[in-house]
Amino acid sequence: MKYDAIIIGGGHNGLTCAAYLARAGRKVLVLERRHVLGGAAVTEEVFPGFKFSVCSYVVSLLRPEIIRELDLPRHGMELLPLDGTMTPMSNGDYLWRVNDHDKTRREIARHSRLDAEAYDEYGKAMVEMGRFAKPIMGMLPPDPTSLDPRGLLELLGMGRRFRDMRFHDKVNQVQLLTMSAVDFLDQWFETDVLKATMSASGIIGTFLGVRSPGTAYVLLHHYMGEIDGAFRSWGLSRGGTGAVSNAIAAAAREFGADIRTEAAVAQILSKNGRATGVALVNGDEIHAKVVVSSVDPNLTFLKFMNERDLPPDFVEGVKRYKYRGSSGKVNLALDGLPNFTCLPGVGPHLRGAISISPSIDYMERAYDDAKYGKFSSRPYMDMVIPSLTDPSLAPPGKHVMSCFVQYAPYHLRDGVWDDRQREAFGDAVINAIAEYAPNIKDNILHRQVLTPLDIEREFGLTEGNIFQGELTLEQLFFLRPVPGYAQYATPIDRLYMCGSATHPGGGIMGAPGRNAATRILKEVSR
């Protein structure tokens, strides 16, 4: 049978795009290479009885309209609160920020009264910024080089919205887009650990340091993250992040979409500049009116297609697009909970995120290693223990702990990511945790170490970049992924992109998938 649309890749964006196309009555087929759906938003029982959100581990920016329109809660998605971030310090103290603003204020006051006051102002300002930035996420990025009046109007519209902001909001907006996280925070705060742990969010998925301009705007994400409309909260997904993907898949199926796993695409079929379908690794050919790729541009255009069928300037752009995976993931099966010297015992602090970002220097040193082709000897880490909130993930009394680790450069200067390097990296991670929770070593039953190379091989993310390409200024908005092709369309007629490599980028957000579907439905009739 012939489909209206084939979606390559069953990650959360591919599934979201499929769901929206099916919802509009299109006949849709999703093809996933792996045996499970979800891409990087996946839950797997890596060790018997221990279920992990293998890659992406928190839900933050999932668009509320998607949750609503696809009715995800009814399809089994349940978001559980992940309250706060605890940052152990090298002097034995800690910084523990929670969602309760006043609590956090009191906690910050322990470190600096001035900062406690600034924190109110900062919070207000960020929420304003979030309001300005949110509509942009659902927007089709206009092409500033084209004379197409619609695009120009869009730009003018943004200009007008900018003009109508209050003056100091304008200032913040400009600064967020242009400054480094540390420089931006320096204006508000004096406490080093506070700035270090806040700026950490600015470097995730990039190959930049916290002092590099362009890292500030990600600070916004923490204020745009929404759970059931509540500003600022980050969350875990019951059953792991895979449950989000599965809920989206269930919604898509309910709308009539077909979804196949273990169906790896080998080639995108096109005839004189027009996509006609795909060929699978097993030789099957499936035809459709539209092909939508949720995998990254490297796979889409350089692996599944023949360069010669594409315009040279586009190919150049695709090759220039930067991935540079800079992070790894370590998943631990624990016999017991880590005991942090700065805050001993089992407490609510273990239910939130635990950030190993004790100082700005620590963050910079971690980056310095990576710049010269080594993984950080003392890496930055963001850790969660979801089994405390969702016991179904581990056997009774046991726990799973997920450690996001940066920096781990995809390209090592001496050597490659072999087993020896992987274990050395894993050891560096454990040692870094042990500095603050010495008992961790005795509690590890199993450990899974994912290097950028593992992430590339297992999840098809080029160079192991978790966002399908660096989130840097020159690769955002109308520049993502390739200048002139930021509107989900490609030089090939009827071939579209809907992955994190398109605006507005990575994270379990779903916006690229939804935006792409909107664009496709506009153009492709039944």
Binding site: P144, T145, L147, R163, F167, H168, K170, V171, V174, Q175, L177, T178, M179, S180, D183, D186, Q187, L208, G209, R211, S212, P213, G214, T215, D313, R320, K322, D361, E364, D368, K371, Y372, T472, L473, E474, F478, L479, P483, G484
Partner: protein, 526 residues
């Protein structure tokens, strides 16, 4: 009261921009007095005798270069300003004793590059021309004050439209390049364009000169584009001022005096007098008052507002923002009196008469920056030096020479030590570096002068020792220089204007900021 003023305008600071502004005001018939704290005008365009018979360009050893409209407006060629028709833009020495030269003629550069990389020999002319085109476009923004953010004046918008149409006039590929390159890391920018590491470092150095950025810091691409913009506006007769930057300053002084400007040296301003929210003059160290209808500050924004103005004359938010204006100096200057011409392996006399860079590769530049992040100066700084006595023998006794060297990174803020303690150790490091490239160098030293960022602040009033009167960053550029909302040389105090490098375009010794400010001030006083 302002009616009784003897002067229409008082200009604070006799640096290149103060002089340019004063001269242009005088030409416009504005009764102007300029006050300079030092006993000679010129600011960073200075010359001093470091040993009997040895004169060196004290700070800047090259202009940025001088802007064509400044030379023409003020007919500086009638006041002693001449240019050397030097064919060399800049050279780089490699540790293996070879030299690489960037000629002002790109095809001649390409010829030389053949010995290093045939690919780069091919790529260079195109890259050079692209930089030229993009620089030319940005240059169109340099010749007038940026429009006000809130109430743009038709005139300003017109100049913006001019730039916009120029943007549309660029080849599409260039339009996209411009959007990508600005926020990019200069290391990526050159990495995309050329392959030879020495060439990459030579070009990338322009992106980090005087900045608190490494080549891998995003946003360093901007400064490279700004340098290109300066070149596009340069006096066509040549980029190198015969006799050094001080001659530029002297020509400006003569032009100013010819237009009736009164110039007073050894006259330090202690306070800007404000009377009901309007600047009415200045008070000098001796207690003397100078009344004027307008006060134009050629000193950097932080010094202008934080030490010359009384806080209660400024809105609190403005003061807060100006405190956060980043001006972290990173450049040190080392001057040498030499008994003979050192023999730099691979360098011709023509190269040594121009600017020569010592930085073998991008990592070298980045490592030099790493130290600065932790409040230390580079153990191996990157150096740009010149031997001005080659083109102007009068600077040194017969057969003897002077060598002028910039050394980066030398951060103003040192950790656990002071510049008074580190001045000589830094000098020793720079000497040792030069000795590496020119064996026997140290034995030829007659005298050595080391100027740290602290000395730049003490002696020349540059806050933080920042040579550009504030870092050239994405968020401190164009309409945001020094602060968003005050990019048009105006300030919260009526009648107080900025004409220093801390106002747009503010890219070094071009006279640009002074010239633009003069237009605004003259219009205001008319």
């Amino acid at each position: 009261m302002s009616g009784s003023a003897r002067y229409d305008a008082v200009v604070i600071g006799g640096g290149v921009n103060g002089l340019t502004c004063a001269a242009k005001l005088g030409k416009a018939g504005v009764r102007t007095v300029l006050v300079e704290q030092r006993d000679q005008v010129g600011g960073c365009a200075a010359e001093s005798e470091i040993a009997p018979g040895f004169r060196v360009p004290t700070l800047a050893h090259a202009t940025a270069p001088v802007r064509r409209d400044v030379v023409e407006d003020l007919q500086l060629y009638l006041h002693g300003l001449t240019f050397l028709d030097s064919a060399i833009d800049v050279s780089s020495l490699s540790p293996d004793g070879r030299a690489l030269t960037l000629w002002s003629n790109p095809s001649r550069t390409a010829e030389g590059l053949g010995a290093w990389s045939s690919r780069d020999a091919l790529a260079w002319p195109a890259f050079h021309q692209t930089l030229g085109r993009l620089g030319g476009l940005i240059g169109t923004l340099f010749q007038s004050a940026p429009p006000s953010i809130d109430t743009p004046h038709a005139r300003d918008l017109f100049s913006l439209m001019h730039t916009l149409s120029a943007f549309r006039g660029l080849p599409k590929a260039d339009q996209w390049r411009l959007l990508r390159w600005g926020p990019m890391a200069v290391a990526d920018l050159v990495g995309e364009s050329v392959e030879n590491e020495l060439l990459r470092a030579t070009v990338a150095a322009d992106g980090i000169f005087g900045a608190m950025l490494g080549p891998w810091s995003a946003g360093s691409g901007l400064q490279l584009l700004l340098a290109a913009a300066n070149r596009s506006l340069a006096w066509p007769g040549g980029h190198v001022v015969a006799g050094g930057p001080v001659v530029f300053a002297q020509a400006l002084r003569r032009a100013a005096e010819r237009h009736g400007v009164e110039i007073r040296t050894a006259a330090a301003v202690t306070r800007i007098e404000v009377n009901d929210d309007r600047a009415v003059g200045v008070t000098l160290a001796g207690g003397e008052h100078i009344q004027a209808r307008a006060v134009v500050s050629g000193v950097d924004p932080k010094r202008t507002f934080l030490s010359l103005c009384e806080a209660d004359h400024l809105p609190p938010e403005f003061s807060w923002r100006i405190k956060n204006y980043r001006s972290r100096g990173t450049l040190a200057k080392v001057n040498f009196a030499l008994s003979s011409l050192p023999s730099f392996a691979g360098a011709t006399r023509e190269m040594l008469a121009g600017r020569v860079r010592l930085a073998p590769d991008l990592d070298y530049l980045e490592r030099a920056f790493d130290h600065a992040k932790y409040g230390r100066y580079s153990s191996q700084p990157w150096i740009e030096f010149t031997v001005p006595s080659l083109s102007d023998p009068s600077l040194a006794p017969t057969g003897a020479h002077v060598l002028s060297a910039y050394a980066q990174f030398a951060p103003y803020q040192l950790r656990d030590t002071t510049w008074d303690a580190e001045r000589d150790p830094l000098g020793a490091i720079v000497t040792a570096m030069l000795e590496q490239y020119a064996p026997g160098f140290s034995s030829a030293i007659v005298a050595r002068e080391v100027l740290t960022p602290l000395d730049l602040e003490r002696g020349w009033g540059l806050t933080g020792g920042q040579i550009f009167h504030g870092e050239l960053a994405l968020d401190q550029f164009f309409a945001m220089r020094p602060l968003l909302g005050f990019g048009d040389h105006r300030t919260p105090i009526r009648g107080l204007f900025l004409c220093s490098s801390g106002s747009h375009p503010g890219t070094g010794l071009t006279g640009g900021s002074g010239a633009n400010a003069a237009t605004v001030v003259a219009r205001e006083l008319a």
